[in-house]
Amino acid sequence: MTWNKIESARREDIEKVQLSRLKDTVERVYSLTPFYKEKFDEIGLKPEDITSLDDISKLPFTTKKDLRAHYPFGLFTVPMNEVVRVHSSSGTTGKPTVVGYTKADMDIWDEVMARVFTMAGATSEDIVHNGYGYGLFTGGLGFHNGAEKIGATIIPASGGMTDRQLMLMRDFGATILAATPSFSLHMAEVAKKTGSNYLKDYKLKAGIFGAEPTSSGLKKEVSEAWGIDYHEVYGLSEIIGPGIGCNCKESELLHVFEDHFYFEIIDSQTGEVKPEGERGELVITPLTKQALPLLRYRTGDITSITKEPCKCGRTMLRMESIIGRADDMLIISGVNVYPSQIEHVIANTEGVTLNYQIIAEKKGHLDKLEIHVEVSDDIMSDSLGEMAIIKKNIQSALLNNLYINANVILVQPRSLARSEGKAIRIIDKRKENV
């Protein structure tokens, strides 16, 4: 079931809609935002130069820095009396990024979230338990409005108070859970304490999870702990909030809503657009936003997209789960690696805990990667051979999965550097010499 028939439209029809909306957006930002007008004029670009979707690569990028530099409302293209809602990021590293919505923007947001709920199998018959935080964070209200749009019953539980949330889920008979994967797992762990057959008290059939990077291992864990289908939602407030894409029952790839957003994958170093299927930084241009239409917003998230059709009948592009952040990428002897990929390999090696540190160094002209893994009592053995096997297993898993040669070194627990209690995961000594 799809919410809107455009989700399974012919690709040429989708692209036609995209081009016309892209032209409107370019026109709009050029005439209304001095920031973009300056950028266009600098490179001698006129809105009428955009005549095909490929021309999008001529447009300048927008970054989080640009949003911060125009804090709070500097990039809004409508007067404040047309702005009906403001959301903001947490801003842990300086000024927060602030985003605004007109009434029309809110309608788009409700629409895409309705598609997400429908993709997860929800209808007006369902009771949605919303465990995302309500407030400036787009999670809580984004899910709230989408559930209302499809006519489901929404329980606005917000975050925290695990025991109370579990009671509400049981007593109200929630069928759909919306929450972060980590909180969902935490709730399952608390629920389990009442006995191994705790699932009989709940009526959940599906969950819509997002706002955190998630490995397939974690997805499986959440899905099994609650005995439900796992649907991953992608979103970021700069574009709209949750609702940029979600996976259907057929695969783990996320259908993205191309009639409202234009998707590109670029090489984060050169800015060049990458061909379909290759991994790189995700760049999104909202095509219908009124209050804050950004051009080619660099999400910093690493993923790939494919046009391959899906069994469910939807024709829009599908995106892989985010595999890392562009700023974390290491290049080891020409191979791109994200720390999250290394973490994934380590997590899947039997007996090894996740206390590790990645150290990249130059030896002569060659890159050298060392991975220090703390020896927990669990992997401690009184046989050198057994311990050497653990080391070898990690090394060969890294080579087979990521094509990198790393030297794994077993180290004493708690010997790895920590900063304010948080482990320092990556030390790139090559950068110090630049």
């Binding site: 020896v375 053995s381 009184d382 050198l384 311990m387 010997s415």
Partner: protein, 139 residues
């Protein structure tokens, strides 16, 4: 009875690593009865027998040092040629695999320390006793 508790302590291949362990043991009045280091290129395992292994585990845990306690047994060294050979021949004739062995000195002639698969431990003690091998209750 006959189970001697041996600590296998992880040590990195760096200067000062053994000192770290032995300093903690001596500061806590723990007496080292035997010490044996095996090493590879990257790291080593220090096999230590002390007078109070639980206390040693506690103080080493607190210092963040990984270790494992294993059961080993000790056979008194009899002062004649072939006493070691007697034990290993006996065990191999019963298809018992010895994981490792080393010698230690004590107040007498010293002892051979043996590590076998924990599942075979009682069986091994039984075989040795039936063959009048002098297994030590303590070293």
């Amino acid at each position: 009875m006959y189970r001697i508790k041996q600590l296998s302590i992880f040590v990195e291949n760096k200067t000062g690593q053994i000192t770290d362990v032995t300093t903690i043991l001596s500061q806590n009045n723990l007496s080292i009865k035997s010490i044996n280091l095996i090493d590879s290129n990257d790291f080593g395992i220090l096999r230590v027998i002390v007078d109070d292994e639980q206390k040693a585990k506690k103080v080493l845990d607190n210092a963040g040092i990984s270790l494992k306690i294993s059961d080993v047994f000790a056979v008194a060294i009899d002062d004649h040629i072939g006493s070691f050979n007697e034990v290993v021949t006996l065990l191999s004739s019963k298809n018992i695999n010895i994981e490792y062995t080393y010698t230690i000195s004590n107040n007498h002639n010293g002892a051979f320390i043996f590590k076998v698969n924990p599942n075979n431990f009682n069986q091994v003690i039984d075989i040795l006793q039936k063959n009048n091998i002098n297994i030590l209750k303590e070293i």
